[in-house]
Symmetry: C2
Subunit: 354 residues, 2 copies
C-alpha cells in the first residue's frame, strides 16, 4: 500500500478499516480492496468515533436514518400535545384516578404503546375518537423510535456489555464494529435481553412493593405490559406507580419490540449467509461465465466475478447497476471503456460537467 | 445478443428480464449486463410465475424466507395447543362467557395479537403464567406471519388492484415486478390500505349490527382492536361476535402491522435513493480512482466502477466481497487474474474440486 500513501492521505482514513488489521500480507492479488474508501454497511450508521472521518461520510450517515434528537423532539411534542388533550377532557375519562396531569400522561403512554389496560377509558364519543387518533399517531411515534434510535441506544450499551464479558480493552467500539454482521446482531440480541431482564426485575419488584401485588400478579402485570397485551385486571393504580409506569412502560415495550426485531434480523442474516454459501459453492458453467463477462472481452476479471455473484445472491439489482453505469458512461469521456486520470480531468471540465 | 443465443439457451430465460424490453438497442457498450442471470432482488422472492425458471433459482427463493405453508402450519398448531390449554383451564378464567371452545379460541387470538381486551382474564397464578407464556410465543407467531407471508398475500392482491386501476392487460405480475422498488412499495402500501379500509368497514358494520353498539363505539372498538390497544370497555360479547372476531382480529392486526412495515420500507427506500443520487453526483477524485482500481491495473473498468460506487452507497460490504473473492481465487486455477472457459474446466477437475 506504499504507493497509495505516497500519493496522498491513505484511503484507510476514510473508514474504520473493515478487515482485521493484523492481516498485513494479503493473500495474492487485489490487495487494494482492503483499503477502498467504502461506506461499509457493516460499520453501522452510528460509528463516528474516529474524528478523522471526512464530512461527506458524515453526510451519508445523516442521510441514512432520522437522528436521535429528531425522534426525541417528536416524542416530546407528541406526549405534550397528548397530555394537554387528555387533561382537558379528563372529566370524560372514567376509571381509577389519581392526579389530573399524571393521569393524562399515563393515559397517553398506555395508549401510544398500545398497552391499553382499560383502567382509564374514554366515555364520550369525542374522547373515544380522540383516543383513536392518538393510538395511530402513537404507533407511528413508537415506530420512529424503533427505527434506528433504539438500535443506537442498544449499540451504546452493547459496548459496555462486551467489555464486561471480555474483561479487556480490546472490546472498544472499533473492535466491535469490526465483528462480522451475524456476531454483531448476536451481541445486540444479548444486550437487549440483558436490558429486558433488568426492566422485568425492576418492574416486578416495584409492583410487589409499591402496588402491593403478589409475586405472580406482579410478574403477570409486567408480561402483560411489555408485550402490550394489557388485559387491565392488574395495572398501576397509585400515584407513585403511575409516575414509574410513564417511564417503565415505554422502555419495556420498546425493548421487547427491539428484541423481536433483532431476532428477525438474525434469522434473515443467517438465511442470507447460507444462501451466499450455496451460490458460491454452485459450479460455474460456461454460460455463467458469459453472463458474468460485463464488458464482453471474453474473460471474467475479479470485479466482474464479484458483481455477478452478488447479483445472483440478490444483494444488488439491475436498477442499482443501471444508475451507476449511467454515471460511468458520463465519466468515460474518451470512451475507452475504462476510467483513467485523464477521463476524470476531462469529465470535470465545464463543458462536460452536469 | 445474437452470439449469446447461438451458443446456448438465452440468459434471459433465467430471469423475468429486469429492464424494459422495448429498449432493443443498448446505449453504447456493456450490453450483456442487460441479460445477466441475476437473482434480481427487485423481482421479489415470490415471482415464480414463469415456468421456465431454473430449479436453482427456485432453491434460492425457498432459502430466502419461510414458506407460507410453514407459517400456516405453525399458526394452526399454535392455535390448537392454545385453545386446548385455555379450554382445560376455562374455569380459572373469569369474564363474559359464551361457549367453552369458542371462548378458548377467542381468548387465544386476543392474547396472541396482544389486543388483550380483558373481557376474559385468568384468575389463578397458573393460568396467569400460562397466559404470559402464550403472549410471548403468540408475538413470535404473528412476527413469523408478518415475515414475508403477509407480504406475499398483499402482493397477490396488489396485482388485482393495479389491474383494476390501470384497466388493461399490461398490469400482469411480470409488469408489476418490473416497476422500480419505490413504486412497488407504494402499490403495496395502497393495497394494504384498501384491505384495511375494507376490514374497518366490515368490522364497524358487524359490531353495529350484531353487537348492537353505537356507530362511534363500533368504530372505537375497531380502532382499539386493530392497533392492539384493546382497552376492553367495548369488545365482542356474543357468540356470533366471537366467531367473527377470531378471523377479523387476526386479519386486522396483521394488516395494520404490515401497513406500518411498508411505510417504514418506503421511507428507507426514499432515503436510500437520495443517498445513491448524492454518491453518484459526487465528483470522482484521483484518489477515488485509485481506490476503485480493484485489480491494480491502473485503470478502472465498468465492473470496478460499479463495485466501488455500490460499496460507497453501503449496498455491499467488505465481508460480501471477501467471501466471493475466495471463490474467485479458487476458480482462477491458472492465476491470470481473469476467469476463462479453461479455468472453469480446470477448477472442476476432481483434483481441484472442493
Amino acid at each position: 500500500m506504499a504507493e497509495v500513501n505516497a500519493k496522498g492521505p491513505p484511503a484507510e482514513a476514510l473508514i474504520d478499516i473493515p478487515l482485521a488489521p493484523n492481516k498485513k500480507a494479503p493473500k495474492r492479488r487485489y490487495r487494494r480492496i482492503r483499503s477502498a474508501p467504502a461506506a461499509d454497511s457493516d460499520l453501522g450508521p452510528h460509528h463516528q468515533h474516529d474524528g478523522s472521518l471526512p464530512t461527506n461520510f458524515e453526510v451519508i450517515l445523516k442521510k441514512l436514518h432520522p437522528s436521535l434528537r429528531l425522534v426525541a423532539i417528536f416524542l416530546f411534542v407528541y406526549l405534550g400535545v397528548g397530555t394537554l388533550c387528555f387533561y382537558l377532557v379528563r372529566h370524560q375519562i372514567k376509571g381509577k384516578k389519581t392526579n389530573g396531569v399524571l393521569d393524562a400522561v399515563y393515559f397517553c403512554i398506555v395508549t401510544m404503546t398500545t398497552v391499553g389496560y382499560g383502567d382509564l377509558v374514554p366515555t364520550t364519543p369525542a374522547t373515544k375518537l380522540l383516543a383513536c387518533a392518538f393510538v395511530f399517531t402513537g404507533m407511528a411515534t413508537v415506530g420512529l423510535l424503533l427505527s434506528k434510535s433504539a438500535d443506537y441506544l442498544v449499540e451504546r450499551q452493547e459496548i459496555l456489555l462486551v467489555k464486561a464479558i471480555r474483561g479487556n480493552q480490546k472490546a472498544n467500539a472499533l473492535a466491535i464494529t469490526q465483528e462480522c454482521e451475524t456476531k454483531r446482531i448476536k451481541y445486540k440480541c444479548l444486550t437487549v435481553l440483558v436490558i429486558l431482564l433488568v426492566l422485568i426485575i425492576v418492574g416486578t419488584t416495584f409492583l410487589k412493593v409499591v402496588e402491593k401485588l403478589s409475586f405472580v400478579d406482579s410478574f403477570y402485570c409486567v408480561c402483560s405490559t411489555i408485550t402490550t397485551l394489557g388485559y387491565g385486571d392488574v395495572s398501576f393504580t397509585t400515584k407513585g406507580g403511575r409516575v414509574f409506569a410513564i417511564f417503565w412502560v415505554l422502555a419495556g415495550t420498546v425493548c421487547v419490540a427491539q428484541f423481536f426485531l433483532y431476532i428477525a434480523e438474525l434469522s434473515t442474516e443467517k438465511r442470507r449467509k447460507s444462501l451466499v454459501k450455496w451460490v458460491l459453492n454452485r459450479q460455474m458453467t460456461k454460460l455463467d461465465l458469459e453472463a458474468a463477462d460485463f464488458d464482453g472481452d471474453g474473460v471474467v476479471d475479479a470485479a466482474e466475478f464479484v458483481l455477478f455473484k452478488l447479483r445472483e445472491v440478490g444483494k444488488i439489482n439491475q436498477e442499482d447497476i443501471k444508475l451507476v453505469m449511467e454515471e460511468f458512461e458520463h465519466l468515460d469521456v474518451d470512451q475507452t471503456g475504462t476510467l483513467s486520470a485523464s477521463d476524470i480531468t476531462l469529465a470535470q471540465l465545464p463543458e462536460n460537467g452536469k
